[in-house]
């Protein structure tokens, strides 16, 4: 009796279930057909498709260690290695043949000369060429406690110190009237707007260098969009619980700028790791000057509150300390793909902060019944962009 009832209920379910499965089954059949019989267009490619990426070349006392990554669709075998237009001995670990997404390390004994440029060419068995460049030969810094400390100090100088100095303007900024505070918020939007553009550009540049299969430039956009939406969602969820404080906004700005400064750290670390010490030093000076303006941006939402010293310290660390992590990552484990993603996330975070401050300006303007885009605000915003533009020129 009971059994029969169960069967009866299953029957209609079973026949309806077919309509859920049928499209999936048919799709699978279509895919199998395409895979086996092709699309009707000539499927065999004219030239062999081989794609090798050289993410890293390490210089040691013995020569070069070249990291190779097969990001193409097919197995690739490296037949010969050339250094500056000469065939050269090479040892492959584990093997000269790499399967799809396979990696290998090539050890090349070579008496390189410090400061000279080198080009390492790999010739595959199909006669395709892939090359990696050492723009300026210098021994690759080995991770050591001393190096670690040096990089941390550089990150500290570039990130925490200037942001902290910028925050010192707080008492001065406090003397401003309501309109003046609006203007400072507009200035902040200008500063941040420049940073978004700058961060996106850096990210896209790095993304273009990353292995094609990872779609580096795409990662920047996805990262930016998702981080923007994620922070927006967090905001809107917490908004329901209570009004947002200026301190809250300041932390958000500091967080967004922190991700931006992580990128600056990456650039500095990578410059030192690739032997371009002069560039590295230049970047340190440029970024330090540039970052002092970020302190102003972080302080601006706090002008109507009574923040403690502790808050300032935390803000300076949140915005500045990622530069230390960035310098480590850039100096020891630089990876174009991950760096591009970080830049994207950073850009999204800054964008979301612009959105929040924009809303603050609108609210303040409404309260005082003044235009939200007053001439003063417009001039401040422009000044923010110009200020960043001028200090950024020191770096470029």
């Amino acid at each position: 009796m009971q059994t029969k009832a169960v069967v009866d209920r299953l029957k209609p379910l079973k026949s309806k279930g077919i309509w859920g499965i049928l499209p999936v089954v048919l799709l699978a059949i279509v895919i199998v057909l395409i895979a086996n019989f092709g699309t009707g267009i000539k499927t065999e490619s004219v030239a062999p498709i081989e794609v090798l990426d050289i993410p890293k070349i390490i210089l040691t006392d013995e020569g070069f260690a070249v990291h190779v990554f097969n990001s193409g669709p097919e197995e690739v075998t490296i037949a010969q290695v050339l250094v500056n237009d000469a065939f050269w001995n090479a040892e492959f670990n584990p093997s000269p043949t790499m399967s799809r997404f396979g990696e290998t390390e090539i050890k090349i004994p070579y008496g390189w000369v410090e400061g000279d440029p080198y080009e390492i060419k790999l010739i595959t068995s199909n006669g395709l060429l892939f090359s990696g460049e050492v723009p300026v030969a210098a021994k690759t810094p080995e991770p050591s406690a001393a190096r670690f400390g040096q990089y941390a100090l550089i990150g500290f100088y570039v990130g925490v110190v200037p942001v902290g100095l910028g925050l010192l303007w707080f008492p001065f900024l406090r003397r401003f009237s309501n309109r003046g505070i609006q203007a400072i918020l507009a200035l902040t939007v200008g500063l941040l707007f420049f940073l978004v553009v700058d961060t996106l550009q850096e990210g896209l540049e790095l993304g273009a260098e990353a292995p094609g299969v990872f779609q580096g430039t795409g990662l920047v956009w996805f990262g930016a969009l998702l981080s923007f939406l994620f922070l927006l969602a967090m905001d809107q969820a917490s908004e329901r619980k209570g009004a947002r404080s200026g301190k809250h906004v300041a932390y958000k700005i500091a967080g967004g700028i922190g991700l931006h400064n992580l990128g600056e750290g990456l650039a500095i670390g990578a410059a030192f790791a690739t032997g371009e010490a002069a560039l590295g030093t230049f970047l340190v000076i440029g970024f330090t000057l540039h970052n002092i303006t970020e302190g102003v941006g972080i302080a601006s939402p706090l002008l109507k509150e009574q923040p403690t010293w502790r808050t300032f310290l935390n803000l300076a660390l949140l915005a500045g300390a990622p530069a230390i992590a960035g310098t480590w990552a850039g100096g020891f484990v630089f990876n174009d793909t991950l760096a591009a993603l970080f830049f994207g996330i950073g850009a999204g975070a800054i964008l979301q902060v612009i959105y929040v401050i924009g809303a603050m300006i609108l609210r303040e303007a409404k309260k005082s019944a003044s235009p939200s885009m007053s001439w003063l605000n417009f001039v401040s915003l422009t000044a923010g962009i110009l200020l960043m533009y001028a200090t950024a020129m020191l770096v470029n």
Binding site: L82, D85, F87, P109, I123, L128, L129
Partner: protein, 288 residues
């Protein structure tokens, strides 16, 4: 520990085998007589062939009879030559011989894929000549590999010698108009990994030509010895130069004669260091 530099493999790969075959193989054709004169018939087939040009590297070549360079054709001055050319490639080709012959046998007319043409002319003058495809774009058809040496022996034979055939060339792998690999007889470092064995005191004669595309000149330099150089070798009264280095423009060629005074390994290479390190380097090994 691995040495700084490059130690080529001496493995007998297809490319290595082809290079050694080209070194000592001369194609005298199928002989018959007509009105008391020697007639030599050769068969050349143009085809699209993947050839090994360095250890493990394959090049999509256009070849005569499947190799780069093509076979070395050899005859004696005054012979009647019949070269049956069958085009088995996907592109029109031709054979243009250097030397004196009727203009309708000059090989500047295309022979279409799947068809045949017979070049017939009298072999003259004596000397060391060349042949190659002469269809535009010329640089493409030559760089791809359609060329070879063409030796017309004088009626009064040259002194007996150990004879070697060498064609200098280059390969542009990424089609940027510059060669990435340079070779003699089509395979990088062939005679460095496995030196050419000669005897101390014997006369060694090298038929040397240059088919390097994209570079203005190529050169031949011999270590620890000198050689006599006969440009083209057509004028028996011409005085040879005595040197250790000669250079040749594309299409230039000549005969080198040398004797190795004592046992040892005598290096030879292009004196453009770049060419040498990119494959054009080898050894004669003289044995007592």
């Amino acid at each position: 520990m691995m040495a700084h530099g490059y130690e080529p493999s001496d493995e007998n790969t297809p490319g290595m085998e082809a290079a050694f075959k080209a070194l000592t193989t001369f194609d005298y054709g199928k002989t018959s007589t007509r009105d008391g004169r020697t007639v030599r018939e050769y068969k050349l087939v143009a085809m699209d062939t993947d050839v090994e040009i360095a250890k493990g590297i394959t090049f999509p070549g256009w070849t005569f009879n499947g190799s780069i360079p093509g076979p070395t054709l050899r005859c004696t001055e005054g012979d009647i030559l019949r070269i049956k050319f069958w085009n088995g490639s996907l592109h029109p080709h031709s054979i243009h011989f250097h030397g004196i012959h009727p203009t309708n046998m000059d090989g500047i007319e295309p022979v279409q894929p799947g068809s045949e043409f017979i070049y017939e002319f009298e072999a003259k003058p004596a000397g060391m000549h060349l042949y190659h495809c002469h269809i535009p774009p010329l640089s493409k058809h030559i760089h791809k590999g359609l060329y070879g040496n063409f030796i017309i022996d004088p009626v009064k034979p040259r002194k007996p010698a150990r004879e070697l055939n060498m064609v200098m060339n280059g390969y542009d792998l990424d089609l940027d108009g510059e060669n990435e690999i340079y070779t003699v007889n089509g395979y990088a470092f062939a005679f460095q990994a496995r030196p050419i064995e000669v005897k101390v005191g014997e006369l060694v004669r090298v038929y040397l030509s240059n088919f390097t595309e994209f570079d203005l000149i190529n050169s031949f330099h011999l270590h620890a010895n000198l050689f006599h150089y006969y440009e083209v070798g057509a004028d028996p009264d011409a005085r040879p130069i005595y040197t250790d280095t000669v250079m040749q423009c594309q299409g230039q060629r000549g005969i080198l004669e040398m004797v190795f005074p004592s046992p040892g390994k005598y290096m030879f290479h292009a004196h453009q260091s770049e060419f040498a390190e990119l494959g054009w380097m080898g050894f004669f090994e003289a044995k007592g």
